[in-house]
Symmetry: C2
């Protein structure tokens, strides 16, 4: 497990690093010329779900907050970057969606998605990768630098006898096996797919066959082909009263199947995205943990102009303003389930937010006041 933990620890701060770089760059580009006020020496990294929106609804306090952040021309007064674990969407579409919701222009380079740090995995960009997820999947993978892609649907079409769960989609006749399909050299998991049974089966087939899913090997190779995954969120909060399954739940199923079939652990070459610690209820969200992790990283290693990263917890998301019930144990403590990914070591001290406020409006007020800006 040490090697797995290492990979996770190595890549966990990558999302924050990219976000801070984006903010610095935006700061340099847009605010350097100044106005009546000196250019900002700080920026905001904002989560989306539960901070700005919940389901289809924009949270009113978030709209108020942006009134304080926009100048009379409708331009942001400080760099703002939106950091989300969403992966089944393009930066452009997410920026458009946010522009519509928030009522001002959000640029694609202000959006950091869970898989954005995959750009760093250049040693895998020339491999023939099986890619799993939904939405603009191939476009996203290409934008990250991956050049040779096979989708689960393409693999299914090439080997129709592999996908047998859905009785309606099973081949009706005997088909000759195909042996001219190029070998797959890695697996890229960008977000939760649809029809999990198909993706779980075909990804497992690729791993057990060393990239030749039409064949059967005497023993499954181990270590298996490289697996890169983004967004380990087990759960996320939408309109339903209980949290919904995220990509982390899909990964959990894949890990359980691989372990049951082979007796060994599925091994990730890389895991990107915010380190999810979203538990079933009353738990500070993954962003606080991630921000604190990145802050700690900054204490030993400078990233551009960034020197610190303060976490502010707002109470409009999964974490409600009401105190946890006295019978509920602290997250991660004995008797309480750990909802983070298997490969992310758990450090309870990083769950403590530097500030806890009711909503984004209060958070922005706090930041501006602390930075000596007029509200």
């Amino acid at each position: 497990m040490a090697a797995l933990g290492e990979a996770a620890a190595r890549w966990a701060p990558a999302l924050w690093r990219r976000a801070v770089r984006a903010a610095s760059w935006l700061g340099g580009r847009r605010f350097a010329s100044g106005g009546t006020q000196s250019p900002p020496t700080f920026g905001l990294l904002l989560d989306i779900d539960g901070v700005l929106v919940r389901g289809h609804q924009v949270i009113p306090a978030a709209q108020e907050a942006f009134r304080q952040l926009l100048d009379p021309q409708g331009q942001l007064r400080v760099p703002v970057v939106f950091v989300t674990n969403a992966g089944n969407i393009s930066q452009c579409s997410k920026a458009e969606e946010l522009s519509d919701q928030l009522g001002f222009q959000v640029e694609p380079d202000q959006v950091i998605l869970s898989h954005s740090p995959m750009k760093l995995f250049s040693q895998h960009h020339n491999r023939r990768m099986l890619v799993s997820g939904q939405g603009p999947l191939v476009e996203n993978a290409r934008a990250l630098g991956f050049k040779h892609l096979v989708t689960v649907d393409e693999l299914r079409a090439a080997f129709p006898v592999l996908d047998m769960v859905d009785l309606q989609r099973r081949p009706k006749t005997t088909l000759l096996p195909r042996n001219d399909f190029p070998v797959i050299e890695g697996v890229l998991l960008l977000g939760e797919p649809v029809r999990w049974e198909t993706s779980l089966q075909l990804i497992t087939d690729v791993l057990l066959s060393d990239g030749n899913p039409g064949t059967g090997l005497a023993t499954a190779p181990y270590p298996h082909l490289p697996v890169l995954a983004s967004n380990t969120d087990l759960l996320w909060m939408a309109e339903a009263k209980m949290p919904r399954f995220g990509h982390g739940t899909f990964l959990l199923c894949l890990e359980a199947i691989y372990r049951k079939l082979t007796g060994r652990e599925l091994c990730y070459t890389g895991l990107t995205g915010k380190p999810s610690l979203l538990t079933y209820r009353d738990n500070p969200t993954s962003d606080v943990y991630g921000a604190n992790l990145f802050h700690q990283h900054l204490q030993t290693q400078q990233e551009g102009a960034a020197r610190s990263c303060a976490s502010i917890l707002v109470c409009t998301g999964v974490y409600g303003p009401q105190a946890p019930s006295p019978t509920a144990p602290a997250p991660g403590s004995e008797g309480s389930p750990f909802h983070g990914h298997r490969d992310f070591g758990f450090r309870p001290e990083l769950l403590q937010a530097a500030h806890v406020v009711s909503d984004l409006q209060e958070a922005v007020r706090l930041v501006l006041r602390k930075e000596g800006w007029t509200v």
Copy 2:
């Protein structure tokens, strides 16, 4: 875990018990009046996949075997019952399918499916059950005695904000929560469904909410609502060179998710079907194990007229005639993954078939000879 193991041990022989009863009944009905030969005092319980058919192909030796078992009028000379872990089909359809494949009339009462023993769970027949699977799902559940059924699709329609994985199927607008939907009182898992993400999410919602998936409870109830499942086959053999996912793989995902979310084990009130021990390769199939288990049961407890149950392993299925490779450890031994269900205790001595023959034709010859019948 003791309680879970107990439930499994209690119900594991139920399928064989039903099959033997069916065979005895058939024997009494059809063969009692006799002909030139005295009525048979034995019957055959036959697996289907890998014994009679493989994928769409009938195994030629199986066709030969039935020539020996049919009289000149095309009637079976001995009782034959077909025992399969298939669950997403009705007894009638399976009998029709077999009739087409084998070229003689197979009656529905000659077919025992994995969920047939669910008829015994009468204490749950009046509960409002969420039912999961595909094919003639509601018809099958009703035929087993369950009177109040809700399908996953019906639950999804009643609570559209629950099923959020598929971006295309998410509700496009905010919907008012429904509070007139009757409480669900149990979960009935008859076979692998399609769109596993939807079934996994909604079944989990029902268990965590104590049957009110529109609400959110402070703590998930435990013990949870009764869960009945049939067919724990992790894998099964079709036309692909590697085995395919069965209902056991779906159950494995559900168990992994429940454990991750709650920190507790999913608990089955009942598990029916053949005890699957089908491993990834070179392993005697679950039928040998099941037959031996039932034989052991018969040593202490008589079932109708049945006194013994001899296992015969044929080599036309997953188990090939070639010896296991010397590097491959014995199934279930240290270092080799255990592919049986979590709740079925593993007893290696039950894996040993009383006879190993090349195919069904040789098996039938052996039986007829041993019983003193003319071949």
